[in-house]
Amino acid sequence: MIEEYLYLSVILFVIGAIGVMIRRNALVAFMSVELMLNAANLALVAFAFQHGSFDGQVASFFVMVVAAAEVVVGLAIIVSIYKTRRSTSVDNANLLNQ
């Protein structure tokens, strides 16, 4: 019964991974990372249900806090890159490559 939730979590994690790999827009790639974090959260809550304890839910809560902090800093970085390069494509941030 919990297995379905885990399979869903796996599917979402893989979808997020594909998004990170193929999308060039930094914002969309970033949202894909969020999707992966949420997939992990779903697995944590499902395991909490399986074991009948709150630890998984608390872990999922901490993941959310960290994800929120990550979004704030990540978006600030995207905005500051956009200010200098006028683009949000991850291909354009290649100064170290030239």
Binding site: M1, V10, E34, N38, L42, A48, G52, V73
Partner: protein, 261 residues
């Protein structure tokens, strides 16, 4: 529980696929909102009402709105390029994703053989879901909880520093602006007064409608340069047509009445 799962799990997968497949970033963000709300419903089905509320407040409320704000800041109309910059990247990504899927499914497939314990016992023992989470949060995990506050403050300060823009030129005050205008007037004869208003017509008074000069041509100064550049400018001559036709009709009726007299 099963019904809720089979309603929201496909919705969530749809949202996830929309997130990576839509080429417009705003559609991706809205797909993600669908996925996040479905996930909240799944939390509720797993006896986690606290996380259900937090998921909606934090993800759809705060995180997604932040994404949309930034999208508006950096421009929404820049679709993703579909040109591959690294050769064979898409094929390799597909292979990697398939490998990851296989690995994860292999790792978890058939691992859980016992019936779930369910949250019932723990919830009753703690006196409620929120109480149970709080007992752990302020008991066993209180140190981690304190650390998250440090993390959040650091993140907020970091974001402020990253997004802060330092002025490279001093800010122009009213006096400097007036002086610059008078200098421009002396040098090139540019009008030092305020710019003309946008056009006001019977069917439109939007700021995108340029005013017409007495000779019937469009006054470019009456519309913001940004709007003109974006191509949002409305054709005033066409708008004026309605009024001109109405006047022509009125004149014709007047002439006919004159003839009848």
């Amino acid at each position: 529980m099963n019904v809720v799962f089979w309603i929201f799990a496909p919705l969530m997968v749809l949202g996830g696929l929309g997130l990576i497949l839509f080429r417009k970033a705003v559609y991706s963000a809205l797909s993600m909102a669908l996925a996040m709300i479905s996930l909240a419903a799944l939390y509720a089905s797993l006896d986690a009402p606290f996380l259900f509320a937090i998921q909606i407040i934090v993800y759809t409320g705060a995180v997604l709105m932040l994404f949309l704000f930034v999208m508006m800041l950096v421009g929404v109309d820049t679709p993703d390029s579909i040109v591959e910059t690294i050769k064979g990247q898409r094929v390799l990504s597909a292979l990697g994703a398939l490998g990851l899927l296989g690995l994860l499914v292999f790792a978890i497939g058939g691992q859980i053989t016992t019936e779930p314990n369910t949250m019932q016992g723990a919830t009753v023992a703690a006196g409620g879901n929120v109480e149970g989470v709080a007992q752990l949060l302020f008991g066993r995990y209180v140190w981690v909880f304190e650390l998250t506050s440090a993390l959040l403050i650091t993140a907020a300060v970091g974001a402020m520093i990253l997004a802060h823009a330092q002025r490279t030129q001093p800010k122009l005050g009213q006096r400097e602006q007036a002086e610059a205008r008078m200098k421009a007037y002396a040098a090139s004869g540019a009008h030092p007064g305020s710019l003309p208003n946008s056009g006001v017509f019977a069917t439109s008074n939007s700021i995108a409608t340029p005013a017409l000069l007495p000779d019937g041509t469009i006054s470019q100064e009456s519309v913001s340069a940004t709007l003109a550049q974006r191509g949002a400018q409305v054709d005033s001559v066409q708008l004026r047509q309605v009024t001109s036709e109405a006047f022509a009709d009125a004149e014709r009726v007047g002439d006919e009445e004159d003839e009848e007299l």
